[in-house]
Symmetry: C2
Subunit: 273 residues, 2 copies
């Protein structure tokens, strides 16, 4: 192979690192790939680190020791995070989103992968201290969001099913009461989805009374998990209190008025928490 120029090496290094958030690459992986000494690699990594920091694109972390290496952490905070949340808030506050029953049409936002990647990184930043082993959600609409939280943490995603599906083997089921409509429903999780004793972060797109999140927390406990946090994209201001004591929401939906066609929603901004 011809000698690789530094600038091209740094391009490849950047691409490989940012493609796998939180994944710890051994330094030998890169020094072998590029055929360079570790000292040269350290200089390259410093350039990547400085550039990412300067442009607010995340952090590079070096872990020392034999099991060490380097990893990219996609922090998204401050003005950048606030800008995204304000944009979503504005997009959600339009009258044509109101659906009969006081719901909001949100699918276009929940299925916009680029927006959802960024939301995943905001959740990761706000829950970084919780160090979850798994990200859990319930089908259907919250799946892309939870997947991107899992991506930002580099942890597996676990999906709770409504009912119990045959293609996932033996499962644990629980009944739960939806807080808003007071109906009894069933949700289930394959037994092999979580290792007992693992830390679980629960993510969902929407919370009204909190019955669904409560169900997921109970189910996580049932299979031996420890819930270390609950995050939702949108939570309604009412009813209070919710069925979940402690949760973090990115947006607060104060009111959907079907008569005046007015939606009142606000982001929970960095620096104001």
């Amino acid at each position: 192979m011809e000698k690789i120029r530094r600038v091209e090496r740094v391009v490849a290094l950047t691409k490989l690192l940012v493609d796998r958030p939180y994944y710890l690459f051994p330094l030998g992986h890169f020094s072998d790939l590029f055929g360079i000494a570790k000292s040269t690699l350290s200089e390259d990594l410093l350039s990547v680190k400085n550039a990412l920091k300067q442009f607010g694109l995340g952090a590079l972390e070096t872990v020392a020791g034999a099991a060490g290496g380097v990893r990219f952490i996609p922090f998204r905070e401050g003005l950048q995070a606030n800008g995204i949340l304000e944009e979503i808030s504005t997009r959600l506050a339009t009258p044509d989103r109101i659906i009969a029953g006081g719901f909001l049409y949100m699918s276009d936002i929940l299925f916009d992968w680029h927006l959802v990647v960024q939301l995943g990184e905001i959740f990761m930043t706000r829950f970084a201290h919780a160090e979850p082993d798994y990200i859990m959600t319930v089908e259907t609409k919250g799946i892309p969001l939870a997947m991107m939280v899992a991506r930002a943490f580099n942890k597996p995603l676990v999906i709770v099913r409504r009912g119990s599906k045959v293609t996932e083997g033996s499962a644990v089921s629980i009944n739960y009461v939806t807080g808003s409509s007071k109906r009894i429903q069933t949700m289930s999780l394959p037994k092999r989805a979580i290792h007992p004793g693992s830390k679980v972060l629960v993510i969902d797109d929407f919370m009204k009374a909190g019955g669904t999140a409560r169900g997921m927390i109970d189910l996580a406990n049932e299979v031996g998990g420890i819930v270390v946090g609950t995050g939702v994209l949108v939570a309604t201001a009412q009813p209070q209190p919710k069925l979940v004591d402690d949760f973090m929401t990115l947006l607060i939906l104060d009111e959907v008025d079907e008569h005046t066609k007015k939606v009142t929603i606000r982001p929970v901004l960095d620096g104001l928490r």
Copy 2:
């Protein structure tokens, strides 16, 4: 702002480009961001392009003209694609994945975001000629996969629901017959999900008789879409023919033998198609 060194500029450029596959950045966006002339930017872009090509990390495409710019295309083909498909094939061919009824447990693979990102790029590479406007799938397990195909194409994801859910407004519903169990089921799509005349790529995780894919194709036609392709991760070798004439699968499941606990599955490799 202090003067930005070339190597750091190239790091930021790489990160911003690879974060948004297929998104056309106007050249002015980057020359403004870095405070450099377009000629300097062109040199930087050439370095990024060469490095990505040299390491098999995708392509950089420059579009000329007033509406032009530069975009990253995450091609994943040849040996790299084959390696991923062979890995999945090996992982799926283990006896403990067999579930009563001859099904295979696949959720861990379908919810492994890093694997699914790469699968999305393989689907994109194989369907690039089809130039879809939307990626369509049906809940639940195929959603992450379809989302990553949507990411690789930079196109919106449309999710067909089983039944008709209140929170998505007025919807078109169809009945379809599952090819394997011959049951009549309903699936539906919000009317506003697709613009009439748009090209739709249907993606699903598994195909046996093809009834579900057939239903999605009919539903896409029903709302005025034009289906330009159908892709699945795993298709069973039998029954033949399927209810869908023309589809592309990444893996072929020849047999699941519940008695001998043997799974026979093989990847559809690049160069062998």
